[in-house]
Symmetry: C3
Subunit: 355 residues, 3 copies
């Protein structure tokens, strides 16, 4: 594809020849002749001078040296995503229908154009709607349901009665519907399992990363709303409810019965105690430990998590602490000297200091 | 089942008609006509007034308004677990015997009423005792042994020579017996693998969550005692030993050769350094980082973990720090003024202050 | 094998009879007659007195009581590893060639002496070189390539176009090449997936633990260099680059586009923000949260991570804080008394204190 055609498709302003043949995309450092790259983060601007790319997508006000043709756009990041898609050939899908090595129960209901990959196991009572792709080696438990045009990557496993909506993507190794962690305990510290007989309900347009675990409810439902995006290795305990369009970054853990408001963001490695409410649009900073409710729209951080301004104030004081300690000892010395000075002056009132 | 019959089965005192037909259980907010719910946490008491449940299990002293019939019991939580079990129909088990798609070595010894699900791979020398269920797509490595009435959910994998006791439950995607993380390192920082030739031994009545990893010992055994309960995404390194009835909550990581006492509790996302001893009945708070031994029965918390009273005192001081800083600056000013006041009074002793 | 022969093979100095027949290895506490053990950590020296082992490998200057024959060496740890290997019988490998239950695309290229285990799925365009072992139930995506003498344990899954080098080991349940976590977001907080069309490239002599996740690049490559060792449950985001011989301990999370220098060490449960550079040979302490670049060779620790000396100073001050608070209140009292004492003395200058 000629560079001029690329420019036309993404709607940018071209500076340089449009005749160059573009055959692929790459990062600014890795790109070579015939490839197009981009520059969104000003941090990487110095690399533009040395790029071997044939063209670079830049912001409208970009003014650094660059040997490549420039394509000026409002949002280089978004423009590059479009360009990358132009040159991307996706891998082939599993064949239409059921692979001969898959084990599918007799009463399973499959919609139109469903694909069931090699060595899947689909238990009785399952329903999978039109256009959904189940990659090889997945396990779909008894009476689970998956909507339209969803996609499960290899080795996903769903326990019984899990529901997944439309256009939802689940990555490899993720487990949906494992038992919640619930026990009664006797006086000797011996635990007895509390049956976990609820389910997991996952909405439309959700994406869940690899090796995530979502526990089924003790009773009722663990809920993941529409449009929620969950990164890898996240733990979601029983009876958690996650509002629409919330974002949960890698390695977050959410304890039982906690509710996450819609459009809330939980940054990487955060941990949330149980039975809490995180408000709509709230943000929990990376690695923060949430132990009480977070109001709507509030940004909390730290261990325990507190509003971010307070956390920063506290942290700044903490950093000053070693110096403060020195000043404090000095001040104690001064006061001591003041005391003896006053005592030496023979006034009655100095008696008070001997407490 | 009539409500009166439910009351009889769980032994509570019924207030209201026992004629109502109960056909299921649900949470206090989700329940509808024909369902029974419960109220254990006082936090949710206001919801009782608006429940649509036909009956609610409450504490003996419950006195809030509620339109539903009430079933008064000592422990609503436990009573509800019983009721829920009454209405729960578990999904069908894999068929008795070996599924035709499973690959089972010739010398494998299977007890009575063992179930081996579709597409399992069972290697040579394995023994599986009476009544145990191996769900589809599990991998049981060479010479591993599983006791009676245990259950492996789909896609569990056991490496060679792993031993599991009776009545133990392992959830989807968990890996038992992967190599411990051990290398020798040369002067250039290049690492050479130290063979990990020990095993993993798991006791009776254990439950292990989803996507957990338990490494085999370098030599000897990584041990998980009887009655231990382990949540999802936990990491247990080589040569760790976990005492009977200990509880390990989600995303905890235990480094190599650390010993956890019986009935100890490690709360979510805690991390433990290697070669430590956590005493019997000790508690490690959520997200705490344990870097030295924890005595029996002691509750530690924080990073690094310290006895919880000390941690709270330290934390309280930390929270006061920004205010303290202001007061400190003020005090310095006052002392300065005192010094000049005394200096102004012309006493010899004030010379001392000019240090 | 006679003890004298063991001594000969590992090159140690034998104290005691060499005639004893040794048939296995065990830890100092578990070992029994006919077994050889070792003592590297002085912490365990008292256990030597009570060992039932027939022989114990010790340091050259070991002088504690021990009933067993002693084998004195420079490095007992390394010597024991050698001895353990002498007595270890590894489990059988999958048969040479392709297991009849594996599903292998027609155009897959397999080198000499490749082993493909039961129920693997190998997609079109894959190439696997000489001597590599793919254990049962693995999934190798479209056009992925695996070098020579590498080993994948059961249930590893590779998405499309992933490259693995020679002599690399991947443990059970690990996912390589899942989509990076990248979305564009509109003004209503609704996210749209940004295609993740890059790849993952893994070097030679790498080892990756169980249930790890490595995301494919947004474009370009996520890179894991030669000799890198990665423990269990680690998260590596899109476009991360890890230098040769780096070490990543369990449950670490590395955010997108961060670069780890060669021979750097990231200790357990550390978290790294995105777009950072950790220098060559740098060390990130356990559970540390890295939010800015770490220079070559620097050891950082804490949340946020700072040079370890600074972190320790800050932490020491923090531990003193409760006591400091008491001393501070006392000092305020003293200053108050000094002020009234001076005021009582009737000097003009005391007026200054009433600010």
């Amino acid at each position: 594809m000629k560079l001029s055609e690329v420019a036309e498709r993404i709607g940018g302003e071209l500076k340089g020849s449009g005749e160059e043949e573009i055959c692929g995309v790459a990062g600014i450092q890795e790109a070579t002749v015939g490839e197009i790259s981009f520059l969104a983060n000003p941090r990487y601007a110095p690399q533009a001078a040395e790029t071997k790319a044939s063209a670079v997508i830049v912001t409208e006000d970009f003014d650094k040296p660059c040997p490549a043709a420039l394509l000026r756009v409002k949002n280089p990041d978004a423009a590059f995503a479009k360009v990358a898609a132009l040159f991307y050939t996706p891998p082939p899908l599993p064949e239409l229908g059921v692979h001969p090595t898959a084990v599918v129960a007799g009463d399973v209901k499959l919609g139109k154009e469903v694909r069931i990959g090699a060595q899947c196991v689909i238990e009785a009572g399952v329903r999978i709607d039109d256009g959904t792709i189940i990659s090889p080696q997945c396990y779909i438990g008894y009476q689970s349901r998956i909507g339209k045009n969803s996609r499960l990557y290899p080795q996903v496993s769903l326990r019984e009665s899990v529901t997944i909506g439309d256009r939802t993507i689940i990555h490899n190794g993720t487990v949906l519907g494992s038992d919640g962690f619930g026990y009664s305990v006797n006086s000797k510290g011996v635990r007895t399992k509390i049956p976990q007989i609820g389910t997991v309900v996952i909405g439309d347009d959700v994406e869940i990363g690899a090796n995530v675990t979502v526990d089924r409810a003790r009773f009722g439902r663990t809920v993941i709303g529409n449009g929620v995006k969950i990164d890898n290795l996240v733990q979601i305990a029983h009876n958690v409810e996650i509002g629409d369009h919330a974002v949960i970054v890698a390695q977050v853990g959410i304890s039982g019965s906690t509710t996450i408001g819609s459009r809330a963001i939980l940054a990487g490695q955060a941990g949330l105690a149980g039975h809490l409410t995180v408000g709509e649009g709230a943000i929990v900073g990376p690695r923060s430990a949430v132990i009480k409710d977070v109001p709507d729209g509030v940004y909390v951080m730290g261990t325990p998590a507190m509003p971010v301004a307070k956390m920063k104030r506290t942290h700044a004081s903490l950093m000053l602490l070693p110096r403060l300690k020195g000043r404090f000892t000095e001040l104690e010395q001064k006061v001591k000297k003041l005391e003896s000075a006053l005592a030496g002056s023979g006034k009655k009132s100095t008696d008070n200091f001997e407490s």
